[in-house]
């Protein structure tokens, strides 16, 4: 009996018909959202989309290829500063600046990757290396007067009545759509990646690098590729951050806490899955904000409550759903592909 060829199961899973219908409804809601949502909801949605995007980018390295980065704030910071510096100092718009941002971040990624993978630094030690790079870059920017040093670097604040998408000056609504487009592109790109040889080789490396190598996979090359793609993707988030918030402080943007915030979404949503980073970002942002708001309403302002909440979420997921929430949810909703019947 010859089985028919089917789409890849597991991680590169597609949705079934019901899932596609749900996705269409979600897409409609997302597109329409800025026209009926309050500015508070809109800013919350922007935060969700932002973390969904950075989570997706980080997931390429860790979820797909198994390389743990705990210093992804490095790429947000370098990307943001690169585009902002070109804009402020040379009047070069963000659509050009974004290429410089990508290039700079890929250069950082290449150095980290080459150092680690050439000398066989893996696992926890690789993670430490990524932290080290984020940290010394932060210290460097703290002393770089041309970029405002520790005092911060500021973009001219835009008039919010008038949208100028070429210079990314405009309303929250414009930024929302920009970020939504980024999220959709990142999702499509990652879906495609997982279905190519690159995606299969990454997963093989994640599962067992030695076995992958014996099957002809040049592990150095493919791990480098994962770092380069992930860092380039993350740099776009940095450019967005700079032009949306109009200020950059090394102490904040390169902060290790920022790196952790990036990775929580995909871990809680489901490592290596395509919907996990999005789901994780949405759940964490809404719940954390909800808790903070609820406490404020009863007159309590507890600093750090968000972090405690993140910790509890992580704990719960690690204990009860080690694969993340998405795989379990997809099964429960009956929207994931069933075993043996994949399409």
């Amino acid at each position: 009996m010859m089985l028919p060829p089917s789409a890849s199961p597991g991680l590169a899973s597609a949705l079934n018909k019901r899932g596609v219908a749900l996705l269409a409804v979600l897409a409609l809601v997302l597109v329409a959202l800025p026209w009926f949502a309050s500015s508070y909801v809109l800013s919350l949605a922007i935060v969700i989309l932002y973390f969904a995007y950075t989570g997706q980018a980080w997931n390429v390295m860790m979820g797909f290829c198994g390389q743990l980065s705990l210093g992804h704030s490095l790429y947000v910071g370098v990307g943001g500063y690169a585009a902002a510096a070109l804009f402020v100092h040379f009047g070069i718009g963000p659509w050009l600046g974004v290429w410089a941002a990508m290039g700079a971040c890929m250069a950082f990624g290449a150095v980290i990757g080459a150092l680690a993978f050439r000398f066989g630094i893996g696992g926890v030690y690789f993670a430490l290396l990524t932290i080290a790079f984020a940290e010394f870059t932060r210290i460097g920017f703290d002393h770089w007067e041309w970029l405002g040093a520790s005092g911060g670097f500021f973009l001219p604040v835009a008039q919010r009545e008038f949208n100028d998408p070429f210079n990314l000056r405009g309303s929250g609504r414009m930024f929302y759509y920009l970020l939504l487009a980024l999220d959709v592109l990142a999702f499509a790109f990652c879906t495609w990646l997982l279905r190519t040889r690159i995606g299969y080789y990454w997963q093989a490396i994640r599962e067992d690098p030695e076995a992958a190598q014996a099957l002809g996979v040049n592990t150095f090359r493919y791990k480098m590729l994962a770092v380069l793609i992930s860092s380039a993707m993350t740099s776009l988030a940095g450019v967005f951050f700079a032009f949306y918030y109009n200020n950059l402080f090394p102490e904040q943007i390169f902060n290790m806490g920022r790196s952790i915030e990036i990775i929580l979404g995909p871990i809680i949503g489901g490592l290596g899955t395509l919907f996990g980073p999005i789901l994780g970002a949405a759940m964490l942002t809404v719940l954390a904000d909800g808790i903070t708001e609820a406490l404020r309403m009863v007159g309590l302002e507890i600093p750090g409550v968000k972090q405690v909440f993140y910790g509890l979420c992580l704990l719960a997921v690690v204990i009860y759903l080690p694969q993340g929430i998405w795989p379990a949810l997809a099964k429960r909703l009956g929207i994931g592909p069933r075993d043996g019947h994949r399409q």
């Binding site: 009996m1 010859m2 089985l3 060829p5 089917s6 890849s8 199961p9 597991g10 991680l11 279905r195 190519t196 040889r197 299969y200 080789y201 997963q203 093989a204 994640r206 599962e207 067992d208 030695e210 076995a211 992958a212 190598q213 014996a214 099957l215 002809g216 996979v217 040049n218 592990t219 290596g272 075993d339 043996g340 994949r342």
Partner: protein
Amino acid sequence: MSEAALLSIRSVSRRFRGLSAVDNVSFDVPPGHIVALIGPNGAGKTTLFNLVSGALTPDSGDIVFAGRSIAGFRPDQVCAAGIGRTFQLVKPFAGLSVLDNVLVGALHHTTRVASARQKALAILERLSLADRCHVPAAALTLPDRKRLEVARALATEPKLLLLDEVMAGLRPTETDQMVEVFRRLNREQGLTILLIEHVMRAVMALSREIHVLNHGELIASGAPEDVVRNPHVLECYLGEESAV
């Protein structure tokens, strides 16, 4: 001796902190042959495999495959040269399906996932694993995992297949099935096989020559029926039971 060897191991040595794991070993694997490597535990068989497959580099000596030296190649380069291997301690991609495991191997010769998937299915069919192809590899039993190792290695279309104890843990009927698979691959596709094996039933059924390692040294080589009567081999490895 007119035909050139496909794999030629020439005075290869490797030590680990003074311990000689493989000591000045030389032998040839002619194309189209099935050759067995036997010996007691710790004799250096797997180390020799690791030297050939690029997981380790020899301290001295040379390894020549299809006319060129592959000593010091990385494992992926050895694979590209045309040598497939299995691991004694199986290494499935646990989180991937059985099909995707083999697919990774099949992608060695094509970037087209669809055609690689077809090839992977055909190989799984051949190893009687096709009905399990959508199961995660982590859910397989040990005998099935051994088969998966073979399927994955075959998917890279090797000229030479290195089998590291793929019969261990199989029932006699399963061993015979596996033996038949290798015989057919050898007969129909001219696949050359070098196997490490303790299951003498399989060794005797398959191999045309046997080489015996003990304490890293080659102590006997020759036709199976001669080697199993070699008193030296009987003494250090096969023991009384086989002397029947």
